[in-house]
Amino acid sequence: MSTQLSEAPARPAAPVRPGRSATTTGTAALFRFALRRDRIRLPVWIAAGTALMAMFTVTRHTRADEEAGRTELLRSARVGRHAPMLAAVLLAGLACAALAVAVGIGATATGLPATGSFVLGASFGACGLVFTGITAVAAQVTGHTRSVYGLVGGLFAVFFVLRAVGDIEGNWVVWTSPIGWAQASHPFSDDAVLPLLLCLVAAVVLVLGGFALLDRRDLGAGLTQPRPGRATATPWLRSPLALAVRLQRGAFLAWALGLALLGVVYGALADSVETLIAGNEEALAVFGDPDVDDLVDAYLSTTFSITALLAAAYAVSSVLRARTEESEQRAEPVLATATSRSAWLGSHVAVALVGSALAMTASGVTTGVVRVLQTGEAAAFGRMVGAAVAYVPAVWVVAGLAVALFGLLPRLAAALAWTAVGLFLVITMFAESFDWPGWVSDLSPVSWVPLMPLEPFTAGPVLVLTAIAGALLAAGSAGFRRRDLATG
């Protein structure tokens, strides 16, 4: 990655024009700086978004409809065997094309070269097209919507890692990943169209393959027979905690893997931040000639606060699993056994607390490993893990909030908990940039945590956050013990 970034032509420093409002001075320079700094990360996010869009669009109109029995009804009418999937693929393809054009127009409008802008847009669209094709195949392979998401999501993670590895090493590995092909177009520098054509060809081949598989299977079935489950439960599956672990382990593994991958990416980018800033007079001037190491630490502490919010989002989704169990009437048979309400809720909450702490630690570990490889300093590992783990009490406060809402305001729990996560995310990302008053930023528990590794560790906020989390958990549990169970 560093090789690519050093290719960027150095821009002359912006002349200081007197008479402009002082509060916005440097915005243009910072914007260009941010764009250049994110020239890898931003496209990765958009590519991920496009791939997800393709996956959800195709699955929703193929396997999901088939599983729900709607396709059967449609196919009994004058509708051909290939029609539902063709319609879904066309829709997803159209969405990818629209996105490509929109990005092209948008980027051109910000003053970037038109050719590069449209190549950039096309690279996103191409990535979406490949995943349209991958989903078209995956939707034939397995009979269940959730498995399709798992298959495509897993492939995305694999391709993502292959691209990252290839990028860091600068070798052929990047060509094993369609995400790598899309990015090999190098918008604004090479503007290569050939890799994008490769994506298009792959998408067409995959979709045709999907149709071929569709011809070889029955309606409602996958290519493989669903594996039968166990006739008897394993000896460990006999407590509410075991049930909660069993129900939530898939989601936990996905989130933990996601945050670990994010740790790799953030760690890898730390190196380019260093290279970029050290060699860039303009950027150094903007930051007031700081110590480059401090800047890297500032960057890392910011990334950890964002990771912490993602871990909090996982914790909230995990706590709300209890609500789903309740409202879908699956809590009722369990609570009609000799399982107390505290034990049942405590099991799901334990998974949320331990799971989010492990996921947060995983991101610290991967960032730490990458930093050790980059800098050769073994101490970097401990600093990164420490910085990540310091956020755990803040994550638990958000989880505790979800538990309290579940116990006291069950109907509104999901809406309010997600609103809180969104609010905390906005605060973390924008409070400093827009200079919001201190009390706004204090609303988010994540802001209370010392900005490690830039700042030293302080025990005070961590203890206070832990106490708040404990109080919220107690309130939620007490509320749940006193209220009616939701009935269908």
Binding site: G229, Q329, T337, R341
Partner: protein
């Protein structure tokens, strides 16, 4: 000895009064039918008995305990089959049976195997592939394989086919023979008639009738069809005779239980050639209590309980 004792139970959901002073007495060792149409409050009552809902007023005792306060201790002694069985899509039927059994406090492995066989249930299938009837079988096997002294069954057969319904009835008779108590909520009257020692009929969250089937039959009418040598006349002037019809030398009528003797004496005066008498069915008991509702809704009498 009473297994369940409820009096004046009130439960409201916002403006809806789901239970409005309900009474229920279930003696230890009996199979008690808990009858009422959909929405009459059967499931709500059961959820109060399980400590899942908190009563607003009234007295509720279950196995000599308070279902809300002593929920965990009481649940060791009872097994529950919900009306709408939802299972974890990714967990097999066999795993669900074991899990629920162990959470309750143990499960008889031999009986589990025997019940799987009798109910013809494949325990290896994931719950998402089970039909409603098969999900119900999972819950039934989990409950029946336990040694619970009280079974609480909320419309347990609504998804079963007639063959499985027969197996279910057989199982309940065995349970009764072991001296265990069953609270069987149902709107299938034939089932309650076949199984229950006593029934309670509820309507709009209130108990309207309670007692043994014999006691209840005394409160209603017997249907008589008779063929007589000479045309039977004068029946219409007898008290307690209803819906009198003459067809091809035969006479049909319904008669109140206390007027049965007089009506038969009157008939013999015309030379009885053949006589059939049908005791009142639960269906008729039910219809009497819901008759006005049916008239309001204009529902067909053939489908009394679906109104």
């Amino acid at each position: 000895m009473t297994a369940i004792s409820v009096s004046g139970l009130v439960k409201t959901f916002g403006a809806t009064r789901a239970l409005d002073g309900l009474d229920l007495e279930v003696a230890t060792g009996e199979v008690h039918g808990f009858l009422g149409p959909n929405g009459s409050g059967k499931s709500t009552t059961i959820r109060v008995l399980l400590g899942l809902l908190r009563p607003d007023a009234g007295r509720v005792r279950l196995l000599e305990g308070d279902p809300w306060r002593d929920a965990v201790a009481l649940h060791r002694r009872l097994a529950y089959v919900p009306g709408d069985v939802t299972l974890w899509p990714n967990i097999s039927g066999g795993e669900s049976i074991d899990l629920l059994g162990h959470l309750r406090g143990g499960l008889d492995a031999r009986r589990r195997a025997e019940l799987l066989d009798r109910f013809d249930l494949d325990p290896r299938k994931k719950a998402r592939t089970y039909s409603k009837g098969n999900r119900q079988k999972v819950a039934l096997v989990a409950a029946l394989a336990s040694d619970a002294e009280l079974l609480v069954l909320d419309e347990p057969t609504s998804g079963l086919d007639p063959l499985m319904e027969a197996v279910f009835q057989e199982c309940i008779r065995e349970v009764r023979a072991e001296g265990r108590t069953v609270l069987l909520s149902s709107h299938i009257l034939a089932e309650a008639e076949a199984l229950c020692d006593r029934v309670s009929i509820i309507r709009h969250g209130r108990t309207v009738q309670s007692g043994s089937l014999d006691e209840l039959r005394h409160l209603t009418r017997t249907a008589i069809t008779a063929e007589t040598a000479r045309p039977a006349t004068g029946l219409e002037s007898l008290a307690g005779v209803h819906d009198l019809r003459h067809e091809d030398g035969r006479v049909r009528f319904d008669v109140d239980t206390d007027a049965l003797d007089g009506a038969l004496r009157h008939l013999t005066g015309f030379g009885v050639v053949s006589l059939t008498s049908a005791p009142p069915t639960l269906e008729e008991l039910f219809l009497r209590h819901y008759g006005d509702e049916l008239a309001e809704n204009g529902a067909a009498a053939r489908e009394p309980v679906r109104s």
